[in-house]
Symmetry: C2
Subunit: 82 residues, 2 copies
Amino acid sequence: MTKFMDVHHGMKGITAEQLEAVHNADLEQGKAEGVHFEHTWADPETGTVFCLSESPSAAAVRRVHERAGHAADEIHRVRLGL
Amino acid sequence: MTKFMDVHHGMKGITAEQLEAVHNADLEQGKAEGVHFEHTWADPETGTVFCLSESPSAAAVRRVHERAGHAADEIHRVRLGL
């Protein structure tokens, strides 16, 4: 298992309720792929959302986000962390 | 105090030791501005570094990174988080 940070653009004006719905959909869809979304952060002004996950692969993160209805624009394997 | 996620590009091949040095410089420089860097993550393959901080402003985050010798390419005020 490795940590991944994925980034979504174009989500300007996202609300707390919408972020929670997105995160819950990710958690639900992640179960089948063994992906766990630990945290998510959103900047409603620039429309940027960051998701930190533990996942077997970047491909699994991609599939989970696609199935949850919001494909990621970038997926980074953050091998280093402090 | 608000949370910020800033992003640095162009850091391909960054090592664990380099990330620790960068993070320590941020912590040290952050004291004067009241900025606390909580976490940092790096993807050496794409050269992307993410820093999560608590700061009085985006401008303070920008100044701290500049003084530490590595200006941020993006600074997002992540007003929402889960």
